[in-house]
Symmetry: C2
């Protein structure tokens, strides 16, 4: 993912090829958010007037760099998980035994395909946290970048949630569905509220 060109990724996304798709695009949005948080840290660290926030910025910089790597890894995993779902749908179904085996493999693959964007939701939520952490002490000249970071993370959060739900809709294990949907809603509610609050504070500081 790191080595791919932006044009190549966008061409692949735009094409009729099965991957990358929306799950990969959502994970890339999370990576954009994490990179913007890191930028704010890097433009704050080492400046005398922000000395009091140096430790926070150094800690958030490490965390944002980790979350960016996780997001890019999830973009790749999303493609693999979707490939496994397609492969399972492609299994033979001539006999009853084949039908049962195929159905079981599809269900397993769908759970993986729901788990990957659920982890993207968690990464995006963590990036929203990091935006909230840099906002008070970050270099005010780049306050709009904190805002764009939160908006990118928010798009990642909601986009990954759509990908969790579209897979959940096809899963028959009611226990898994209930548990995963509950975890999704819990993560979404908190992170959406925090992203909204960060954006509101950024707009207030810009003086809209």
């Amino acid at each position: 993912m790191n080595e791919e060109t932006i044009g190549g990724f966008l061409d692949g996304l735009a094409s009729s090829a099965p991957v990358p798709g929306g799950g990969g695009a959502a994970a890339l949005s999370a990576a954009l958010g994490a990179a913007l948080v890191a930028m704010v840290c890097n433009l704050t660290i080492g400046q005398e007037k922000y000395r009091a926030h140096e430790d926070t910025m150094a800690r958030v910089l490490v965390a944002a760099t980790e979350q960016r790597a996780l997001a890019l890894a999830l973009a790749a995993e999303d493609g693999a998980a979707y490939g496994a779902v397609r492969a399972a749908y492609g299994l033979p179904r001539a006999t009853d035994e084949e039908k049962r085996a195929r159905a079981a493999r599809i269900q397993e693959a769908l759970k993986v395909a729901a788990d990957v964007p659920l982890r993207t939701v968690a990464v995006a939520a963590r990036i929203v946290d990091l935006c909230a952490e840099v906002l008070p002490g970050g270099n005010p000249n780049v306050v709009s970048d904190v805002g764009v970071g939160a908006l990118s993370a928010r798009a990642a959060l909601d986009g990954a949630a759509l990908n969790v739900r579209i897979n959940l809709a096809l899963i028959k294990d009611e226990d898994y569905k209930t548990r995963t949907a509950a975890e999704l809603e819990r993560r979404l509610a908190a992170a959406r509220a925090q992203a909204g609050e960060v954006t509101r504070q950024v707009e207030e500081r810009i003086g809209r």
Copy 2:
């Protein structure tokens, strides 16, 4: 921009280098949205069961491809415009004449730096339109991708708007400020409402 690697762009974004910044990230989000619209068209065109929507999809595909190119061009322009603002701030200010010349140059550069993200807002709004156009007749298997496309365009819209506002806040030409702020609000209100409506319909179809 097309030739740059994803890792290289993210490293540049995360670094303390002046560009790319949030304006470039917002424009890239718009490009992600446009690519997802194109993907939905490409996965709908040529399939007998979606024959009735073939013309719409072909037309939207052309438009989405154009908007993607515009978005990437705006990402590059955003960097150049920000560079010009920094260069203007760096002009000498030893004499009164130098001070006047520098102030004038800064004001000119800030107007360009506000105009570029205002054009990104327009491109993102157009991509939201395209999401709304593909939703009714697009391949329902990729309805979540229409949703991620609208969310990416929405992040681009709001992120670019923050970049218009942070530049407007420094501009002294009250006429320009009033006119630009009014145009921004007009574009934002319509596009935000439409993006929200697309996302709501996608969630309804997924059956959240």
